[in-house]
Every structure is written in C-alpha cells, then in structure tokens.
C-alpha cells in the first residue's frame, strides 16, 4: 500500500500542504499550547518545533486523521517532553522550597501561622466581571511556581490525568505527587491573597 508514497519529494503524493499550515493552524496550536503552558515564549517555541517535526515526518502522514489532529498530536507530545524535562530538573526545587512551605504552619502542631492563615478575599468571587481579573492574577502567580509544580498542577487540572499517569510520566512517587499538589495550592492561594489585599 506504500507504493504510491515512495516518491517522497513529490508534493502531489502527500496528504498535506505545509505552506498553508501557518495560516490555517498556527493560532489554534498556539492557543492550545498557551492553555497548557501559560508561557508565551515556550508556547511559540513548541508551535515552531511542532511544524518542523511535522515536516520531517510528512512522508509518513497518510491522511487518516485530519492535518489539524495530526499536528495537535505532535504538539501534545512536545508539551509532554517539555514537562518531563522540567520535572527532571525540578526535584531539587522541592527540597529548596521545603522551608518556604513549613512557614505556612506551626512546626509543632500544624496550626496555621498567623501571618499565613487564609483570610476572606473580600470581594465577590463569583462576579463574572472579576473572573477575568482574577484569572490574570492567577497567571502571574503560576509563573512564580517551580516548573515541576506547574507541570504537575497543569497535567492534573488541564488534562484531567490520573495521578498514577502523571507520576509515571514525570517519574514521581505517589507521595511526592501529593506533596507537590498541596504545596502548589498553598503557594497559589497565598500569592492570590497578596494581590487582593
């Protein structure tokens, strides 16, 4: 069945037209990447990497799925690779931030330290007009997280992955995973509160 596709360089044999990719798909891919990464520069890089990787695999694309689905699948892999790289760098950060987190609670009895105890945000958090503003603040707070934490949090919530799958992908233990989820939320919450004061 591959007979037809042996002439790799001849574009009429291919099921895709790369010259039109940027026009047709770049913005959609970028939006998807941003929603997973919340970082414009990284998102741009990965969109570019996606197109270049797709070019090099062009002869293997058989048109069974749509071009768009095919490109999105490549992008998803690039994002997973990015997370994995972050994770392998990130285990040190867990240890470093140990002290930051202990600060939230009394070492002896686990009570909130007065300075860090959550206070009411003092605004109508269900007001849709505020949601956009809060979302912007949250993005700023997310950028301050260690990359590994962000990766874990994002994989859990954006892609709704099971914790076992995330642990496997990022080579974390189950207890590491929950410690990261907990610390991430403590830090995000404290960060939001600081902005809303």
């Amino acid at each position: 069945m591959n007979e037809e596709k042996n002439g790799l360089g001849i574009s009429k044999q291919l099921h895709s037209d790369p010259v039109s990719w940027v026009e047709k798909y770049a913005d959609d891919l970028y939006r998807f990447a941003i929603s997973r990464l919340r970082d414009e520069e990284v998102a741009k890089d990965l969109v570019q990497d996606t197109f270049l990787a797709a070019l090099s695999q062009l002869s293997r694309f058989e048109g069974n799925s749509s071009e768009k689905t095919w490109l999105a699948a490549i992008l998803k892999n690039k994002i997973s690779d990015f997370y994995r790289k972050q994770a392998s760098r990130g285990l040190n950060e867990i240890r470093q931030s140990e002290t930051v987190q202990q600060d939230f609670f009394d070492l002896e009895n686990g009570h909130w330290n007065a300075l860090h105890a959550p206070g009411v945000f003092g605004l109508e958090i269900n007001n849709p007009l505020l949601t956009k503003e809060l979302s912007g603040i949250l993005t700023a707070c997310l950028k301050k997280l260690p990359p590994l934490w962000y990766s874990v949090f994002s994989m859990k919530h954006m892609d709704d992955l099971q914790s076992e799958k995330i642990c496997m992908e990022l080579k974390l233990t189950d207890s590491n995973f929950w410690v990261i989820m907990h610390r991430t939320k403590l830090n995000l919450r404290a960060c939001l509160q600081k902005y809303l004061k």
Partner: protein
C-alpha cells in the same frame, strides 16, 4: 478519642492536605471523616477550602480565545517552513 482523630482536629497542615486529596477524588472514607470533623471546627480551613476550589475553577476556565500569534512570528515561521521544503 483515637490519636488519628486527635491529630486531625488540631492540624491544619494535615487538613489542607486532605482538602487537596478530596478535590482530586482520592480521599479514603476515614480521611473524609477526619476532614469533616476538622472543618466543622476550623473556619480558617473552611475559607481555604473555598479558595482552593476557586483556584481550580479559575485555572480550568482560563480563556484563550482572544490570543493570537503576532504576524512577524508567523511570517518568520512560514519562511522557515518554505526553506525546509526547498531543501529537499
């Protein structure tokens, strides 16, 4: 009172940990009970719980529909793709 119970009643660190487990659907029946008892007596952790859920909602509700790549970047990308094709 069992020691596990005593521990959770006064321990906000453990309670907030359990809140995160609960939000992700991984809490055991015993843990859920411990958490419920803690929250009944701890207004600060109840606030935490609300805000924790709010953060999840904000995070998953993030809107990207107005975002676009800038035209310069797209033009550069297009040139790059054309160059790669002509190589072959």
């Amino acid at each position: 009172m069992t020691s596990a119970l005593k521990k959770i009643i006064y321990n906000c660190k453990q309670a907030t940990f359990l809140i995160e487990k609960k939000n992700s659907g991984k809490i055991t029946v015993a843990e859920a009970l411990q958490l419920q008892i803690h929250l009944a007596g701890c207004a600060v952790c109840r606030t935490y719980q609300q805000q924790s859920l709010l953060i999840n909602r904000l995070f998953t509700g993030f809107q990207t529909k107005d975002l676009k790549l800038d035209e310069d970047f797209k033009a550069g990308l297009k040139r790059r793709i054309e160059k790669e094709i002509n190589k072959n």
